[in-house]
Amino acid sequence: SSLFVYPTKIIIKTCGTTQLLKSIRPLIHHACNLGLSLCSCRYTRGSFIFPKAQPSPHTSFKEEVLYLEDTVPDNLCYRKASVMPSKITNHSWHVFTACDESHIIPSDHDIYTVEVCMTDLDRASARKFFLPPGGGNKSGDVAGKEMTKITGIGEINPRAMICDFAFDPCGYSMNGIHNDRYSTIHVTPEDGFSYASFECVGSIFDDDDIEHLVGTLRRAVQVFRPASLSVSTTCASHEVWPRVAHALEPIGLKCRSCAADEFPSAGSIVFQTFTARRK
């Protein structure tokens, strides 16, 4: 899981059975003490592998939306909740956004967020995210650095400063920071329900290879070689989502579905799913 704190923006991304939405009220309270007020909110998630294990208010998207409607201040009156479908059974993209009158249009027209969810990871790749039996007597930091190195994750964006951590007996999280951009990876490699996520932010004006979405996405997915994955792109511009297929099809992933929708303060969200082309 990860937390990013900018001067006027906070992003929290958690796996497992956390009650993430319960962070909104204390965050609004602490921000108010700093003279800051909430102006927009965006909540997204894929479909849980173990939905029945989720605690309230996350037992269903309906419950999450009710909780958000009740928690988000009334002045954020422009709201939308949507479940974006795909052709992969029980793999949808859930989105809720809310904003006040002055933030309906995304302020940064060129900035995009890419959220990748990968399942059925290549076994040899997933195995690299297990600690040796007994934990190998290394700290999570040291073991995390070794995993970053042996998996090639450090090469996804060589300019990023990386903060990584390995969990016992398996699992890995990393944050990469470069200028005002972050990227983050979370891995739960257990066989049968192996999963990895990759997320990054960028600008449609990035054109050097390292920052460019196509190269970044391709390098990230090749670390895990998943049998299936979904990519959600959020951007005011429609220039981003076509680049996803351009990045993934040359590495054997075929686009199986594409759903798009517009949301207040987020702009356009496009949810695409891909599966490995059969050999």
């Binding site: 899981s1 958690t14 796996c15 965050l27 700093l34 003279g35 800051l36 944050n175 329900f193």
Partner: protein, 66 residues
């Protein structure tokens, strides 16, 4: 019910704030002025703890553990 394993799929929350206090905005630190105790209080509500952190001039990044 299938035996439950560790849920990989994440929940993601992005909150934007604005401030009309020129002194506050002048510092351009805004939310980065939140003390660690306040952040921990928020993370307690989310059953998470900080295991690693890095920062630059633009933002702070934390790796969390549930």
């Amino acid at each position: 019910m299938a035996m439950s394993g560790f849920e990989g799929f994440e929940k993601r929350l992005e909150l934007h704030f604005f401030g009309d206090d020129p002194a506050m905005m002048g510092s351009n630190l805004g939310l980065r002025l939140l003390d660690f105790e306040s952040l921990e209080q928020v993370l307690n509500a989310v059953q998470c703890t900080v295991v690693s952190a890095v920062a630059n001039q633009y933002f702070d990044a934390y790796v969390l553990s549930e």
